[in-house]
């Protein structure tokens, strides 16, 4: 129980402090692969520090949804970071770490941001919000369905128990249901975190941007919060992927303090590797045209559905 | 002796095909096709008379039903092959074909006849499937024989739709085999499957029967998978159209009949009956609707084939001795009548240069013989006495009312009335009245099969004669209580 609480605390700290570094690593990898020197992995933290020092300012004519959105995004990201099994499977908040609750929390963050963007009343805000909602409409069901496919094997929708079962029988991952769910989750992770080929985090071209269009009106500490939250969401998704399909080193019930500390290091390593792979993949990939994005997402939804079907009917 | 008679209908056309491949099409070999068809007919008669036999270690079996179907194949093939040389000569004169295409025509038509013979002689569902798929492959090139845009399109649709249908039938066979192995029947033979049908799992058999009826029904031109039929039958060379419409459809329907025997034994009479009634009424409705506004006389004949396949399905749904004997008689009568019509239409097309109805006016005045056979053929297909289709349609209707299927027979009769009205209207415009154009000559080699076919059809309508006992035996195999 104590180690559970310790692990939970550590994983929140790791996500909160580490996620801007993850973004830094990914940018650095891209820069190096593209032949640039790159700003170094600490740059996102330096950006955040600079933004936090600025005077808070809200766009003219905006109301409370605009001001509440950054807090909600960051808050939900922190809560999710506390409840999902990244470092330990025996979090004291285990009852909350339900598949549906986690998905709903993540969706709440996205919807808040979209509402905030609509509240600005500008063309870009509305455009970004509508695009984000179109993506979200297919992403959320896919996450639900694909994690549900994994939960059938275990007989519980608690993420902690799913991961525990996988730790006990690692070979169970090599089944059609898990493979299909893994592919589906990987695709929605890319879509939800706004990476290439769905969205390009480094562009401000109105034809293509989704996430950046929504946060265009934010400045100062608000922008810092939004950027920090989206970095945390990226880390959470990558961490969840690694926990669900490759839960090596995760601290289960009865683990000692040392095991929990080790588990943090393993988590950092796994997420860093996934991040580097993602960044390297982005270098070699072109962004999809916007109207092709629903195809990609519908495909991942189909895969998730087939994963559920497979876990019911095969095995 | 028995096994020789079973191998014969396969060996004769195969030998003829080889001869065409080696020698090509010339004055000497032109009549080889008719000779081989006559050989098939002779084998069929002998097989019917001797009471059957089997060959190739039981892979081929000639029972009464097979012998009867073989008889139909032989008779229609003889008519078509007799008209073939004159048709090709006219095509050659018009520059629409050449020596290579004619050689290919010879090889393919003979392979086509051999494949159909194999289908009716096969003693197992598997071999039957292979033979029916082989007919698709062979006839694909015959449909696309003329290589025009229309012919290529028709051939493409034909192969794709029929292959898909046949693939469904294959899945049905797989399912039936699955049900069979769990009931201790490891072969796909008719005899074993029918004998142990009561042990087949009903759930699986139901799926298998639906797939088999849909699949073979595609090849038989039954709705809803009939879309290929009007295109293919209107684009193929006339003798091939005659063969395809006259017998190929019936051979595929023969597969449905065989399936129904197993289905009735495994699931009771109700299941296959419902399925066939639906398919039959749909086919009749499609034919009636599309015949009303038809503007092309070859397509008119093709839709009439869909109508007759619908009638056959209706007769099979009724079941019982009278209905099944009527169905079998209908197969022969339709084969003869439809081949006469397609051969006449082919000659007409060559003379007029178009298959549009409005290009043909006053045909009886221009060409009394051709107009006569075309008109009488249409009357035969509409089911007027003295032709045999009158007797068989009457038989199906009577048996249907007796079996309590009046609710299905009544709309069918209504749809047939619509078809009669539509065909009479079209035929009246084509056949009657004065003609501004000159006369159309009909060579003797075309006239003889046309007249012979109609005469045979009429004779069958008056008395079945020696066929009577064969019909009864074949109907017994097709599921009628003896």
């Amino acid at each position: 129980m104590v180690t559970g609480a310790l692990g939970t605390g550590l994983q929140v700290i790791a996500v909160a402090l580490g996620s801007p570094l993850l973004v830094g690593v990914m940018r650095q990898v891209r820069a190096r692969l593209e032949g640039r020197a790159g700003p170094g992995i600490g740059q996102p933290w330096r950006d955040l520090r600079k933004l936090l020092r600025k005077e808070p300012i809200a766009a003219h004519g905006t109301g409370w949804p605009f001001r509440a959105a950054p807090l909600l995004v960051a808050g939900t990201a922190l809560v999710v970071a506390a409840v999902v099994p990244l470092v330990t499977t025996v979090s004291p908040l285990d009852g909350v770490a339900d598949l549906f609750a986690v998905t709903a929390l993540l969706a709440l963050g996205s919807v808040a941001l979209a509402l905030g963007a609509l509240d600005t009343g500008t063309a870009f805000g509305g455009m970004g919000a509508s695009r984000e909602m179109a993506v979200l409409a297919l992403v959320e069901p896919t996450i639900l369905v694909s994690v549900f496919a994994l939960s059938i094997r275990v007989g519980s929708t608690s993420l902690g128990q799913i991961v525990t079962a996988t730790v006990e029988d690692p070979l169970a991952v090599v089944s059609p249901a898990s493979v299909l769910a893994a592919v589906a989750l990987a695709i929605v992770t890319i879509a939800e975190t706004g990476r290439i080929p769905v969205d390009n985090p480094a562009t401000h071209l109105e034809l293509t941007m989704i996430h950046e269009a929504m946060v265009l009106e934010y400045a100062g500490p608000d922008l810092a919060l939004v950027e920090w939250a989206s970095a945390m969401r990226l880390s959470i998704f990558l961490g969840l992927l690694s926990s669900l399909f490759f839960p090596v080193g995760i601290a289960t019930a009865g683990a000692g303090v040392l095991a929990v500390l080790l588990s943090v290091l393993v988590l950092v390593g796994k997420v860093a590797i996934l991040g580097v792979l993602l960044a390297a993949g982005e270098v070699f990939m072109a962004k999809l045209r916007l109207f092709r994005v629903p195809e990609l997402l519908a495909g991942s939804f189909l895969l998730a559905l087939l994963a559920v079907a497979a876990s019911f009917f095969l095995a | 002796m028995g096994s020789l008679l079973v191998i014969g209908p396969l060996a004769v056309p195969v030998a003829a095909a080889c001869a065409y491949a080696v020698l090509g099409w010339n004055r000497a070999t032109a009549w080889l096709g008719a000779l081989s068809a006559a050989g098939v007919l002779a084998c069929a008669v002998a097989l019917a008379a001797t009471g059957g036999g089997d060959a190739l270690g039981g892979q081929l079996t000639g029972d009464a039903l097979s012998a009867y179907m073989l008889l139909v194949i032989g008779a229609v093939a003889l008519l078509a092959m007799l008209a073939g040389p004159a048709y090709l000569a006219a095509e050659l004169a018009a520059g629409r074909t050449g020596p290579r295409a004619m050689r290919r025509y010879g090889v393919l038509t003979q392979s086509f006849i051999a494949a159909m013979a194999l289908a009716v002689l096969a003693s197992s569902l598997g071999l039957l499937w292979v033979a029916i798929e082989a007919t698709t492959i062979v006839t694909a090139f015959l449909v696309g024989h003329r290589r025009t845009r229309e012919a290529t399109e028709a051939a493409w649709k034909y192969v794709v739709i029929c292959s898909v249908g046949i693939a469904l039938a294959l899945l049905g066979i797989v399912m039936l085999h699955y049900a069979g192995t769990h009931a201790g029947v490891t072969s796909l033979g008719w005899a074993e499957l029918t004998a142990h049908a009561d042990r087949l799992d009903p759930g699986v058999t139901r799926i298998a029967v639906v797939l088999l009826v849909l699949g073979f029904g595609t090849k038989a031109g039954l709705a809803p998978m009939h879309a290929w039929l009007p295109d293919a039958h209107s684009q193929a060379p006339a003798p091939v159209s005659a063969l395809m419409s006259g017998v190929l459809l019936s051979v595929a329907f023969y597969a449905v009949l065989r399936t129904k025997v197993i289905a009735d034994a495994a699931l009771g009479a109700g299941f296959a009956r419902t399925l066939l009634v639906i398919v039959a009424l749909a086919s009749l409705a499609v034919a009636a609707l599309l015949l009303l506004g038809q503007r092309d006389y070859k397509r008119l004949l093709a839709y009439s084939s869909i109508e007759h396949m619908g009638l056959l399905a209706l007769g099979a749904a009724v079941g019982g001795a009278l209905a099944l004997a009527a169905v079998l008689l209908h197969i022969l009568g339709h084969g003869l009548g439809k081949s006469v019509l397609f051969l006449s239409a082919g000659r007409l097309h060559q003379a007029v240069g178009s298959s549009r109805m409005d290009a043909v006016r006053g045909l009886t005045a221009r060409a009394p013989l051709l107009g006569g056979t075309f008109g009488l053929g249409l009357l035969a297909l509409l089911g007027l006495p003295p032709f045999s289709l009158f007797a068989s349609e009457l038989g199906i209707a009577r048996a249907g009312f007796a079996a309590g299927l009046g609710w299905a027979i009544a709309p069918a009769l209504l749809l047939m009335l619509v078809i009669v009205a539509a065909v009479c209207r079209h035929a009246g415009r084509m056949l009657l009245g004065d003609s501004p154009d000159g006369a159309v000559a009909t060579p003797y080699s075309v006239a003889v099969p046309l007249v012979a076919g109609l005469a045979a059809c009429a004779a069958l309508g008056i008395a079945t004669g020696p066929l009577h006992s064969l019909l009864r035996a074949a109907a017994t195999i097709a599921g009628a209580a003896p």
Partner: protein, 219 residues
């Protein structure tokens, strides 16, 4: 081979079989579709070989390898040749857009599971439990055939159906009798050759293989 390994290998082969079918529906480039079809042939081979190894049946393994040579070797080779010869029009032009097609495929998967319940109930072994996968691929193949306008993608649709039927045959009864199996393979090969010849003729007559051009015949 233990039970658990057998089931796992069988399920993996089935999963790959299904995944390739979905990807065929997903991708637009004809070249990629032909590749995926070859991969599906390999998955089918693996499936039959696993079944054969399980039953210790050398004949079944050999049949599996034969099927593999045809489905993963010869047929993709023929299609690639047709693709190279065809030039122009390297993408399929679906009548139904890809996103909708994928959602329809999800519905088809459910339908296949519902339809195959009697089959599974008759003998609930791991092999028959995978029959719904084969039926899903069959329906996807049929859907491709109906909604794609390029001659080659229709051909792939037909061959997907055929692969699915072969898979169903081996999953339910370890295959139909050998004579029939040979006949079927030969017929499939011939059908593909016929369609190839027709594609060539179509290109000569219509100047392309877009099936929308086929509208000479209608009522």
């Amino acid at each position: 081979m233990t039970d658990a390994t057998f089931v796992q290998l069988l399920d993996l082969a089935c999963g790959a079989f299904l995944l390739t079918a979905v990807l065929v529906l997903w991708r637009r480039e004809l070249a990629a579709i032909v590749w995926l079809f070859a991969l599906q042939g390999i998955a089918l081979t693996a499936l039959i070989v696993v079944l054969g190894a399980r039953q210790g049946d050398v004949e079944l393994i050999l049949i599996g390898l034969g099927v593999g040579a045809l489905r993963a070797g010869l047929l993709p080779y023929l299609m690639r040749r047709a693709l190279v010869a065809g030039g122009g029009g390297r993408e399929t032009q679906p009548l139904v857009n890809v996103a909708t097609s994928l959602l329809v495929a999800a519905v088809l998967a459910m339908l296949a599971y519902a339809l195959s319940q009697p089959l599974v109930r008759l003998s609930p072994t791991p092999a028959t439990q995978a029959v719904p996968v084969a039926l899903t691929v069959l329906l996807i193949g049929f859907f491709l055939l109906v909604t794609r306008r390029r001659a080659l993608s229709q051909l792939v649709g037909f061959l997907l159906m055929d692969n699915a039927i072969t898979a169903a045959a081996f999953l339910t009864t370890s295959g139909v009798p050998l004579v029939v199996e040979l006949g079927i393979s030969l017929d499939v090969l011939l059908a593909v050759l016929v369609l190839q010849v027709l594609t060539t003729r179509m290109r000569a007559a219509f100047g392309g293989t877009d099936l929308d051009e086929l509208r000479e015949l209608h009522d």
